[in-house]
Structures are given as C-alpha cells and as structure tokens.
C-alpha cells in the first residue's frame, strides 16, 4: 500500500502581533509595574522567547485591587444589568471577530494544536460571554431570591491548559453578576489574557472593571490574600487549592475552587468499541492530556480488554504529533519544561512499579517540550500512575469484572471531577451515572463543554460550579 504522507499545512503566524514586552492592564490601560520584575515567556514548541511580561509585585497587586474597587464602587455598580449585558455581548462579538488571531496566539503561547484552539477553545470563549451576557439583566429569575447582590472585587487565578477559555469561565459570570475582577493568567501563558485587555479597550469597558496582572505563584498568593478582595476563584492544582482554602480561613471571602482530577473512563463489555476508542483518545490525548477532567484511568471490562486495547493502539499510531500551528496536528507540545519533567518522572515511576509502558512509533521534534502518547497496561490501584494526576498524554489501564467493581475502582480516589462510561444499555448508563461520585459524567462521549452546562468537582476536586445557572451562585452574595 502506498504511504500517503501529509504535506505541512501550517497556519500563518502573521495574523498575530506579539509585542516585545507587556505591562499590566490596570484601570483600563496598560501600565508599567511599580515593584514588579520582568520574565520571559516562551513558545513551548520551539523554546523561542516570545515576549517579556511582568511578575507583578505587591504594590502592583494593590493598585489593581484598588482599580477594581473604584470601578465597583463607581461606574459599574450604577450600571443596569441590561447595560452590563451589552458590554458582555460586545466582548463576545469582538472575540468572534478576532477569533483567528486569538487561536493562533493561544497555540503559539500554549503549544496546543491549532485545530483545538480554533475549533474548541476560542468558540467556547465567545459562547461563554454570549451566554452570561443574557443573564446580566435576569438575575432576579435565577433562583437566588429577588435582587441578588454581587460580591465586590473578585480575584481570579487561572491555569495554563486553556488560558483564554478559563479567562472566559471566570470573567463572564463575574461581570454578569455585577462584580469587578483582577485576573491573573498562568505564568507560562499570559499572552491571550493580555490580548483580551485590548479587547476590553475596544469594547469601551469602563476602566477597572477588568484588570489583568501577570506573574507566578507569588503574585497569585498576594492577590488571594489581599484584604480588598471579596471573592476568590481559582482553577489549578489541588495542592494550591488547599493553600487558598487555608489562607481565606477566618475571612468573609467567598471561594470557588476547580482543582485536579483522576477521572475513570469505564468501558463495559457491551460498549460500541470503535466509538469508545475515539472517546478514550479524546479523553486523555485532547490538549496533550493537560486537562483536569482528562480520562486518565481507563477501566475496561476484562472480557473486552484485549480487543479494546488492540484498537486503541492501532488508533494511536495514526495520531500526528508536532507543530501546533499545523492544521493536521493532533498532539502539540507540552506546555513547559517543568511539566515535561513531571510527566517523565511519573512515567518512570510507572515502569519502576511494574506497569507495562507503550507508545506508538513517534518522532519528537528536537527543540521544544514533547512527550509521546503513552499507555500503561497492567496498572493496579496502588500504583502512583493510577492515583496521581499526571496532567499529560499518559493513560493508565486497569481492568474489572463486574460493574460494581468498576464503580468501586472508579470512586477509589480523593478526586471527583469527572468520569466516563461506555455501554449500549440505557439502564446501565443511568446506573453508572448515579453511582459515580463525580461532578461531570460523560456517557458514550467525553470531554464535552458548554457554557450552559455546570462543571466542577466533588471531594478534593474542589467546590462550586462554573457554567449554567449554577455558575451565577459563585458570584452572588447567596
């Protein structure tokens, strides 16, 4: 059979204009830091330096919180819900208008394939603003009693895996409910948030309603602990979530946390196996596995395990890893050297503990941060790769004999963010969905997201919901 190779099909970078350095977006304008320092942000696919951004210092944080407070006490609180909604509609439209630019910028800064940033991330960003725009003048009907009030200044800290999408999940409901925000994007992915600052200016959003400060963990901690903050919303690791929960103890700050996961993706013996293979691939290799709700534990019923794994391995050999801007790429770059080290370390532990490691033949680019799609079989529940969040393209496969055993294994984790179930039998789907202790259950699908659909965890995956009517509760004084 002839071997048909794909020709390169790179998306043009010329649509984005990355400045050599950025300031902080405070009070409606880009400003130089007072006591912040500067650090470089790189393209994880090439290690090329993209720009220099600010690690905001404590005085910068003060200034941003003050600007948010002034906007909250001033123009923003006098605005009707209808007009807040109109601003959000504007933001949604500008995101749509600049969608190609945002998608390319996201792929350059994050390393994710353009196919995902273009078809998933950015459309969902626009959808989120569009959805919450409509809530702004309907809060009386949201089920929280008459005339529900905003909280004040929201400190929002977001991760690097879906930079602009997480920004939208945070900012859209906060503004719809009448809060103002100070948002800190992740250290390694600041660029789309800074582009969003420009979008706020284009929308003529009143100064100080949205403030964006860049930086690493120290900046985040200063922001969370700032006495002028009324609300903390965080998406990230469970360890940092714990620190935040401790640091707000004894305050009146309202907190929502969307943390780690170790989702079970359960395949029962009557599942449509071809569809399940696609779902497993989407569950763990979407976004290089940098997904808190990734289906990182495959639980497959013993009787179909061999057939399923053969199909899965066959499918994985067709995945294309490489240039995130190539429209044929399935697997992009790992977001940072640090994350790559963590994935390598846990994979080595997987081998040491006795699990069998497999990857398809896969050539890794010489520069940049890369890790091949990897499957571990013969994994037991005590293995670290079955318990700890790897946050990379690494799947741990376990087997079970009965649905009851599958539930026990699936729930045997301190996490509870998401789960998947594959079966053709309706009553089994609903039984499994009832028994799984997780905030999102995908049945015969995986990794679907929508602004109308509440998302968030049980147990140590955090608390509060984002999306839907439920997402409003996080930003109202209820």
């Amino acid at each position: 059979m002839p071997n048909f190779d794909y020709a390169p099909a790179p998306e043009s970078r010329s649509i984005v204009d990355i400045q050599p350095s950025y300031g902080l977006f405070i009070g409606g304008e880009m400003v130089d830091p007072i006591d912040g320092t500067r650090f470089k942000t790189v393209n994880p696919a090439t290690e090329e330096v993209l720009s220099e951004v600010v690690a905001a210092g404590s005085q910068d944080v003060d200034r941003a919180v003050d600007a948010a407070r002034a906007a909250y006490d001033g123009a923003w609180s006098r605005l009707s819900g209808r007009d807040r909604g109109k601003y959000l509609y504007r933001l949604a439209r500008i995101v749509q208008e600049r969608s190609r630019e945002l998608a390319v910028l996201e792929s350059i800064d994050n390393g994710k394939p353009i196919r995902e940033s273009r078809d998933v991330d950015v459309p969902l960003v626009a959808a989120h603003f569009f959805y919450y725009a409509g809530w702004a003048d309907k809060l009386d009907y949201a089920g929280f009693g008459p005339d529900p009030q905003p909280l004040g200044v929201a400190a929002q800290i977001i991760p690097w895996n879906f930079p602009l999408l997480m920004l939208a999940w945070k900012i859209a409901p906060a503004l719809a409910c009448g809060n103002t925000v100070v948002l800190k994007p992740a250290e390694t992915t600041p660029l789309t948030a800074l582009a969003f600052a420009d979008i706020c200016q284009q929308a003529d959003l009143p100064p100080g309603v949205v403030n964006i400060i860049t930086g690493a963990g120290d900046t985040g901690r200063t922001l969370v602990e700032h006495p002028g903050v009324d609300k903390v919303a965080f998406t990230g690791s469970t360890e940092v979530g714990r620190q935040i929960a401790r640091s707000v103890a004894g305050t009146r700050k309202k907190v929502t946390l969307e943390l780690g996961g170790k989702a079970a993706n359960v395949v029962l013996d009557d599942a449509p196996l071809d569809q399940a293979v696609e779902g497993i691939v989407n569950g763990i290799f979407f976004n290089q596995g940098h997904v808190c709700c990734a289906g990182s534990r495959l639980l497959v019923q013993e009787s179909v395990a061999d057939e399923l794994l053969a199909g899965l391995k066959r499918r994985l050999t067709t995945l294309r890893l490489g240039d995130p801007l190539d429209k044929n790429t399935d697997i992009g770059a790992i977001n940072s050297a640090e994350q790559l080290d963590k994935i390598r370390m846990l994979s080595e532990v997987g081998e040491t503990e006795g699990a069998e490691r497999w990857s398809p033949p896969c050539e890794l680019p010489e520069r940049g941060f890369w890790f091949p799609p990897t499957v571990f079989t013969g994994v037991s529940q005590s293995h670290r790769i079955a318990r700890e969040e790897i946050f990379g393209p690494v799947l741990s496969v376990l087997t079970f004999r009965t649905p009851t055993e599958a539930i026990e294994k699936a729930n045997n984790t301190p996490y509870g963010l998401s789960a998947g179930v594959w079966t053709d039998k309706g009553s089994r789907i609903l039984w499994m969905a009832q028994k799984l202790r997780a905030g999102v259950v995908w049945a015969n699908t995986f990794n679907r997201f929508d602004p109308t659909s509440p998302f968030g965890g049980y147990k140590e995956s955090g608390y509060g919901r984002e999306g839907g009517r439920h997402g409003l509760g996080a930003y109202l004084d209820v």
Binding site: T238, A249, T452, S453, Y463
Partner: protein, 304 residues
C-alpha cells in the same frame, strides 16, 4: 419557673424516674467511651438538670464511621422515602412536645410561652424541610441546552458526611434548623450539641431513634465543641463542616484551616460570631440546603 420543677417531681409527692442522657451513635445510645460526663445546669445556674456524656475524640471517630456506613443507604433512598421518614420525625417531635418545652425552657432560661413558641417553630421547621426531599431537585437541578447533539442534565446530590456544631443558645430550634437541611437531601451527619443546653438534642436523638430513620444517619455528641470539633474538622472522611455554633473567631479560623486539608465544604459562623445568634425563627431560605449539595452533570449523545 414553677412549671420547670415538674421535671423533678409530679407535685403529688411521687419521686420522679429520671432519664440518663447519653450519646447517639450508629443508632445506639452509648455512654462516652472515655467514661466522662459533665454537669448540665439550668440557664440561671441554680438547678442541676442532668449529667451529660462528655464525648471524646474516640466517640467523634466512631460517629464518623457510623455516618459513613449509613451514607450509601440513606443517599440512595428515594426522595419520597426520605420525606416520609422526616415527616415521621415531626410526628414524634409533636408527641414529645411537653418534654421539649420543659428541657428548652430550663436549658435556655425561657418562660413557658417562649419555650412553647421555640418548640412549635422547631417542629414546623422540621416539617418544612421534610417536604423539600422531593422538591429540591426541581429548583437545584436543570436540563442544559448545550450547543450540540447531546442530552445534558444536572442533578443535586448529597455531599457525604457532614459535621455540625449546633448553635449554643437555641438548643432545639437552632439545632433543627442546621440538622434537617443536611439530612433531608441524603447526607449523613455528626452533630455536636449545644454545650450548655444539650438535653433537647439528646431527646431529639431519642425521637430519631424511634422514627424509622436508619441508624447512623444522625449521630449526636454532647460535650465541649472546642474539644471535639478539631477532630471532626481534620477528619479525612468528613466531607463538609458547619461551624455555625462556634462562637470563638480564633477557633473558627483554626477549624476552617484544618478543614482545608481534604477541601471540606465549610459553612462559616455568622459574621458577628460571638454576638447574638441569628433569628432562627426567620425564613431559612435555601442556603443551608445548597451548602451540602453537589451538582452532577450528565451528558449523552443524541442520535439514531
């Protein structure tokens, strides 16, 4: 408070048979494993009312084990069934009205009429929450119109094992107001009763034990919240903690900090902790129901 003395004698010279007040764990009434007890006196301090068990760390742990054991059954009972069980509790509460009036009056230092008002409000509050068992899904759940060929819905589910520090002053109405919303949705509970006025709580436990409520759904400890609550706040098999009854802000902060270890859902004490208790007779709203509910969202493709 002449009426209060009827608990000591019936006024006709007959010597009263007194009650032993014990803990309530897993459906049984044990003494504290520590063998300790403490003296409960009337609100004015003038009369000895009873010796209550002084619960220990071991008692708290036993209570958590019992609550965890009861969780699968109680959380998967039908909403109709939970509603009927809770309504049955209200029937039993009503039957013990005069006993509660005595205990609340003596423990809180209320005039008879005020004690009656508090007890009646507690029974009515219990009935109100009982009715929520099969209605909370309507107001907390949703069908979600996602932009794609998927059926997508969200349902409320109980958080798990909930630890509660009951309000110190309102020994029955306050207790009912924090406990009923926790268990009606399918959570199981470990309650630390009012330290100074624990007797109505123990009588409530006797009501629960005779009301079809499965053992372990509610576990009740009497003693010092400052001693017991830290073990509950740091217990890794407790999913949520309600600190309403913690009056000391420093202790509340310590407990909230400890609760962060496994990311417990925390209900903080009222803003002016240490000040007067909230008005428990006010409309409670849905906040306490919501505080111990998770939202589960289920997706399924639509197609032929």
């Amino acid at each position: 408070m002449g009426w209060g003395r009827t608990s000591m004698s019936d006024g006709h010279g007959r010597l009263e048979v007194r009650k032993t007040y014990k803990l309530y764990i897993g459906g049984s009434f044990p003494r504290s494993e520590s063998g300790r007890s403490y003296e409960v006196r009337s609100a004015d301090g003038e009369r000895f009312l009873a010796n209550a068990a002084l619960a220990s760390r071991k008692d708290a742990r036993d209570a958590v084990v019992a609550a965890r054991k009861a969780f699968p059954g109680w959380s998967s009972a039908t909403a109709y069934n939970r509603g009927q069980v809770l309504y049955r509790v209200a029937e039993m509460l009503e039957g013990r009205r005069s006993q509660f009036v005595h205990e609340v009056g003596a423990g809180e230092g209320l005039k008879r009429r005020d004690a009656e008002t508090a007890v009646d409000a507690a029974v009515d509050r219990w009935v109100w929450y009982a009715g929520w068992s099969d209605k909370v899904h309507h107001v907390q759940g949703s069908s979600n119109p996602v932009a794609g060929p998927y059926f997508d819905f969200s349902v409320p589910e109980p958080t798990g094992v909930v630890a509660l520090v009951a309000p110190p002053a309102s020994s029955l109405l306050g207790l009912v107001s924090v406990l009923a919303p926790v268990i009606v949705t399918g959570n199981t509970a470990v309650v630390v009763a009012s330290e100074t006025a624990p007797l109505p709580a123990i009588t409530l436990a006797e009501v629960l034990a005779t009301s079809d409520l499965p053992g372990g759904v509610v576990n009740l400890l009497t003693g010092r919240p400052a001693e017991i609550a830290p073990w509950l706040a740091s217990h890794m098999d407790v999913n949520a903690i309600d600190l309403t009854g913690i009056g000391d802000p420093e202790l509340a902060t310590e407990l909230e900090t400890a609760a962060a270890e496994n990311l417990k859902r925390v209900v903080r004490p009222p803003a002016d902790a240490g000040g007067p208790e909230p008005d428990w007779s006010a409309d409670p709203g849905l906040d306490r129901l919501r505080a111990f509910l998770e939202t589960k969202t289920v997706w399924h493709p639509v197609g032929i």
